[in-house]
């Protein structure tokens, strides 16, 4: 008898003490694709724009349209909850993919937004976070989607399907939350802009937004993204564009196959220095030039040229970070923290000033694997 009571108790407790399990009919919800958060300059309140998927009543053929709901308030979750007044059904966040934060909000802090997204049960922690490159985040929702009906799903498809080709990797909420916690390392968020394609406005990824702790302080340009990713060892694919200022007809594009970055940390006589060795496999993707880069000496020249170009770009980026912003976005401090915790304890407080004077050597080693399907430039008779 005792056994049965215990069994019933176990089953009963399992059922009653676990999370929510409400029966929710599919058609009683609106599927949310994503959210854009703005700050109203006049009132100082948050303007929330939520894109929902409105599926219309049609036989057999799904007829989907994007509807943007708006609300504003002094908090994030307040206006979101208010949205139920304007929509007839409950918003369902389980399929939301995108979170866009405007520059104004990010300048204040990204924390209130992240807090809501991480605390609420429904939004996933794998939502991708973007900073709007336009004045407001809402503008991005107003553009007409080119390929799919839902604006934010298109962004999600764009970044996930082409993940390896995208120059700036996307960052998910949980990754951002983890990064914020790493001492003295500052996050870079991808930025998204509106661009006109054949008269239609669409969204493109462009550049990065640098956070100082949780506040937006600066930007990475498109050209700075590649060296930044090389240091972060985050390059899976992409293009290296080599052009000669003196010779405008000399353009070569190299396609990256894979790349491996190794960062060596040296401590000698109290001086901290880093050696960054980057091994990259490339092939020639475009050869728009009169110079011979195919012969043995030509290949060597091309290799040197590419290495020099990347080295220069990388050093420029590091210098700009050291001198202008003084923010360690590369995670050098974290490398010391992981490899030499004792030293880190001593220098942690002064890291910002140490970083500004840090001696960093960058060595690229580029292997040109092949030249695509053809070896020589296409020849035209003289």
């Amino acid at each position: 008898m005792n056994r049965y009571i215990i069994f019933t108790l176990i089953i009963g407790l399992c059922i009653l003490l676990t999370g929510c399990w409400n029966y929710r009919e599919l058609n009683s919800i609106y599927i949310v694709s994503g959210i854009a958060i703005d700050k109203n300059k006049e009132t100082g309140l948050y303007d929330i724009s939520v894109e929902i998927v409105n599926i219309k009543d049609t036989n057999f053929q799904p007829n989907i349209e994007s509807v943007v709901l708006e609300a504003s308030g002094s908090t994030i979750s307040g206006p979101i909850r208010d949205l139920i007044k304007t929509s007839s059904k409950k918003l369902y966040w389980g399929h939301a993919t995108t979170l866009i934060i405007s520059k104004d909000v990010a300048r204040d802090s990204v924390l209130p937004t992240l807090d809501w997204a991480a605390r609420d049960q429904e939004p996933r922690l794998s939502i991708e976070v973007f900073i709007s490159g336009e004045d407001t985040a809402k503008e991005l929702l107003d553009t007409k989607s080119l390929t799919t009906d839902i604006r934010l799903f298109e962004i999600d498809t764009m970044v996930s399907e082409n993940r390896s080709l995208i120059e700036m990797p996307v960052i998910k909420i949980y990754e951002l939350i983890n990064e914020l916690d790493i001492p003295k390392t500052h996050s870079v968020l991808p930025m998204i802009k509106v661009e006109s394609v054949h008269g239609n406005f669409t969204n493109v990824l462009s550049g990065g937004a640098i956070l100082n702790k949780d506040k937006l302080v600066g930007y990475l340009s498109d050209e700075e993204i590649l060296p930044f990713l090389f240091i972060r060892d985050n390059v899976n694919a992409g293009h290296i564009k080599l052009s000669d200022k003196n010779n405008p007809k000399d353009n070569v594009i190299l396609e990256i196959f894979n790349s491996k970055t190794k960062i060596y940390y040296n401590l000698s006589e109290g001086n901290i220095s880093f050696d960054i060795n980057i091994e990259t496999q490339v092939s020639i993707a475009e050869l728009n030039t009169t110079t011979d880069y195919i012969s043995k000496s030509g290949r060597k020249e091309l290799k040197n040229k590419a290495e020099k170009f990347l080295q220069r770009e990388t050093k420029n980026l590091i210098k700009r970070m050291q001198n202008e912003l003084g923010l360690d976005i590369f995670g050098f401090g974290n490398i010391i923290r992981q490899r030499d915790p004792n030293t880190w304890k001593k220098i942690e407080r002064d890291w910002d000033s140490i970083f500004a004077k840090l001696d960093i050597n960058v060595n690229y080693n580029i292997h040109i694997r092949n030249s695509g399907r053809i070896s020589k430039p296409i020849e035209v008779f003289k």
């Binding site: 676990t18 399990w21 009919e25 599919l26 058609n27 009543d57 996933r124």
Partner: protein
């Protein structure tokens, strides 16, 4: 009811005729013929029941020899002389007892009374009409033997004997049913079947107390270890080759006169996933068949519950494009998903039931009406959503792969569906845990129902999800038989 003890066989033929007429009062099928030998003046009378006997046999082997004999029977015991010299029949008994006579005549024997003798002769003249040996419609095979059992016990036993020609094959008769007095036969191969299992079966059969036994299912229910379980822990088949295969694994078969199915026990769960084709086709192909049946079982009990859980509890688990498709299909459907699913499954079961009960030409039209007309019209009229038809269709198709479990599948499916409607995946998992605990609790004549499925030894798993090649099946299932090596002289060493 007349008490047979009140009657005694007299030496007068007239008395005996009167007595037999009295015993079989109001039974129009009792026939008798009085006759006299013209040479020796012997007065005889035969009794038999019309339809149970072979009339030609009586004419040729009983009447003709007696009428033709020129032997003067004088001063010798007529009955014993006739038994050994005149009657042509392989089975002849004599008895003074009226009860022997009655049971002999109702089982198709012919009773011979001879004037002046208070002993009767019981001659076996059984000649009942039986069905021809045909392929059982429920167990059709692609390749392999097509013989099926008939309603005649003796024919069935001969079908088994034909396949196992050894003196170790034993047939033991029992009589069950106080009114039907049905013959049942336990068969086993001595040396392979476990003694204790055999004893249990015999004990349980002797304990059966019932009016009548019409089919093997009666026996199955009486000897089931778990009478309240939805699973049957014995299996039945209409094919002698399957019975033979199981006898050779050390199982015991029970056959009932009048039933074209034989029961085999002990049985394990995985037997339900087997088909006789498995052993007659290439083993790779057979293995694929097994795996499909196992997936079919799991899918058939799970698909409705999982769909319901996904759609009404865990929308985050459906990929976004799919959820939009389901969403749009559900627009305008007035019923909750649970009701929709339950009703549609009920409709399907109704169609299935209707299809099995009506003659086959009408059965086809029922399926056409059900599948095409009802399904399409229901979706167009927005009674149900289109994905629901797919879900129910998949459930139905996968369920059809396992005919022996079809009833069980319906019950588990409904049970999981209700649990899922209350708790989503959580309820489904509860249901599955409960199901597995229940399955592992079952015993079939002392053998665990889920045996062989918990071991990792290749020899234990050789005939479960995979059907290993014949040369690899060197050992019989260990739990089942005494001597576990398959060949008589042992084969290789035990692993």
């Amino acid at each position: 009811m007349k008490d047979l003890n009140n009657y005694v066989i007299s030496s007068s033929i007239e008395e005996n005729i009167k007595m037999m007429k009295d015993i079989f009062n109001k039974d129009a099928t009792l026939r008798f013929r009085e006759f006299e030998n013209q040479y020796n003046g012997l007065n005889c009378c035969v009794f038999f029941i019309d339809g149970m006997v072979d009339i030609n046999m009586i004419n040729e082997n009983v009447l003709k020899p007696i009428l033709d004999t020129k032997v003067i029977l004088d001063g010798i015991d007529h009955i014993d002389y006739m038994k050994s010299h005149i009657i042509i029949s392989s089975i002849v008994n004599t008895s003074y007892k009226i009860s022997d006579i009655v049971s002999g005549i109702i089982s198709g024997g012919t009773i011979l009374f001879i004037d002046g003798n208070s002993k009767a002769m019981i001659i076996d003249t059984k000649g009942c009409k039986t069905r021809d040996i045909e392929e059982p419609p429920a167990e059709k095979v692609l390749r392999g033997p097509r013989e099926g059992f008939t309603e005649s016990l003796l024919t069935n036993l001969s079908l088994i004997r034909k396949r196992i020609q050894t003196k170790d094959l034993k047939f033991r008769y029992f009589t069950v049913g106080e009114r039907t007095n049905t013959n049942i036969c336990i068969c086993y191969v001595e040396g392979l079947a476990k003694e204790e299992v055999l004893d249990t079966v015999i004990r349980k059969i002797n304990e059966i107390s019932t009016d009548g036994v019409l089919d093997i299912k009666y026996i199955q229910e009486f000897i089931d270890d778990n009478p309240f379980s939805i699973f049957e822990t014995t299996t039945s088949t209409e094919k002698p080759d399957i019975v033979t295969g199981r006898l050779l694994e050390g199982r015991i078969a029970v056959l009932v006169d009048g039933s074209p199915a034989a029961m085999t026990a002990p049985s394990v769960f995985i037997e339900h996933m087997m088909a006789s084709d498995d052993y007659y086709l290439n083993y790779f192909f057979a293995t694929i068949g097994r795996i499909i049946r196992i997936i079919g079982f799991i899918a058939s009990i799970s698909i409705p519950a999982l769909y319901l859980s996904l759609v009404s509890f865990h929308q985050e688990m459906i990929p976004a494009p799919l959820i939009m498709g389901i969403y749009s299909a559900r627009q305008g459907v007035p019923f909750p998903t649970f009701l929709e699913l339950f009703a549609l499954l009920a409709v399907f079961e109704g169609l299935r039931e209707a299809g099995t009960r009506v003659p086959s030409p009408i059965g086809e039209s029922i399926s056409i009406v059900g599948a095409l007309v009802l399904g399409t019209a229901a979706v167009e009229a927005r009674f149900v959503s289109a994905p629901m038809i797919i879900v129910v269709g998949l459930t139905a198709i996968t369920g059809l792969a396992l005919p022996s479990l079809s009833a069980v599948i319906i019950i588990i499916r409904g049970f999981l569906l209700i649990l899922s409607a209350m708790l989503g995946f959580y309820g489904y998992i509860f249901g599955m845990i409960g199901l597995i605990i229940h399955l592992f609790n079952l015993r079939s004549l002392g053998v665990p129902f889920m045996d062989n499925l918990t071991s990792l030894r290749p020899q234990s798993l050789k005939d479960t999800m995979v059907r290993a090649p014949m040369w690899y099946m060197r050992y019989r299932p260990k739990f089942m038989s005494e001597d576990s090596k398959r060949s008589v002289d042992g084969g290789e060493k035990d692993e």
